[in-house]
């Protein structure tokens, strides 16, 4: 089961490394940036999980109301022979209907991009049907893993959505803001 392995790898090789240090990282950023991220309840990694696996490399291209602000201080770790492999997360400003900006740390779950690419490559033998099933399995498995993880408790917010039906070009910003409001 492709998604099962991808969810575990995403947890073990990434979230388990970055999440425990995230709040400190945001705290340092805030001190140097006039306390941009005001509400501590939103000091989490907001992970975008589009079930259709359409992952944009730039969030602004997905929705023009999502603007890149800055990267958090980077984390450098020796890993599997790579000296000082770099991990970084990006802060975005998200505008609402009243043009007020809300700040948060947000990104797509990278493995969904792999699922998408697999369904495009003829050698992977992976249909669009299978891709949707695997995307759902990825989200479910990731949720279960994170719920059991003490190290990552309170450090993340999963944002699962299916925007294949959406004609609203500001669907994504509204979806993220909806989740941010729920945390306040």
């Amino acid at each position: 089961n492709v998604a099962h392995g991808l969810a575990w790898s995403y947890y073990i090789g990434y979230l388990k490394i970055v999440l425990p240090r995230l709040k400190d990282s945001i705290s340092v950023f805030n001190e140097n940036n006039r306390f941009l991220l005001k509400c501590k309840k939103t000091w989490k990694l907001h992970i975008l999980l589009p079930l259709n696996c359409e992952v944009y490399d730039s969030l602004w291209r997905a929705d023009s109301r999502i603007q890149f602000i800055n990267n958090l201080p980077e984390l450098n770790v020796d890993r599997a022979g790579i000296k000082r492999r770099t991990y970084k997360n990006s802060i975005y400003g998200i505008s609402d209907e009243d043009q007020k900006t809300h700040f948060c740390v947000v990104e797509y779950a990278t493995p969904l991009q792999s699922l998408y690419a697999m369904s495009q490559d003829e050698n992977a033998a992976f249909s669009r049907q299978a891709r949707l099933e695997q995307a759902k399995l990825f989200c479910r498995t990731l949720e279960e893993i994170l719920e059991k993880s003490k190290e990552c408790s309170g450090c993340y917010q999963l944002i699962v959505y299916n925007d294949s039906e959406e004609n609203d070009k500001h669907f994504l910003s509204k979806e993220i803001l909806r989740h941010l409001k729920q945390q306040n």
Copy 2:
């Protein structure tokens, strides 16, 4: 099949990005470092694939004859919402029995570290038996994917080995040097 997805994700999310630029990267490094990597036939990414999934974060700890020299110029790419995500590879000096040093770009295949961690986590329900099968499947799948990849042709060398039986603490350096000699 866990390994199938990890091999595809490793190719799509990493090798397809770094391998096509590797020779240029080594060329730039060489010009600034007195042409340390002399033999162009070894201008490849040497990927270590230990079937027992024992991946060290520092190669020197695996074998003291493997010394870190420097990192290649880094590659920064916007990916899945992360601005300027960093990719880097490390150059090592490997000493032979006559204490002569040979230079190359080498690292472990990180997904094997995920397989190892999965076999250690009780929630993953992944036995040591399954881990060995998946490690072999990972290597086979990766080999097949890379053989069909035009972009990556001539840019990599897979070094598959099983050193569970080895009592030679310089097994790894000898194994890498054996592969380097074959390319000359």
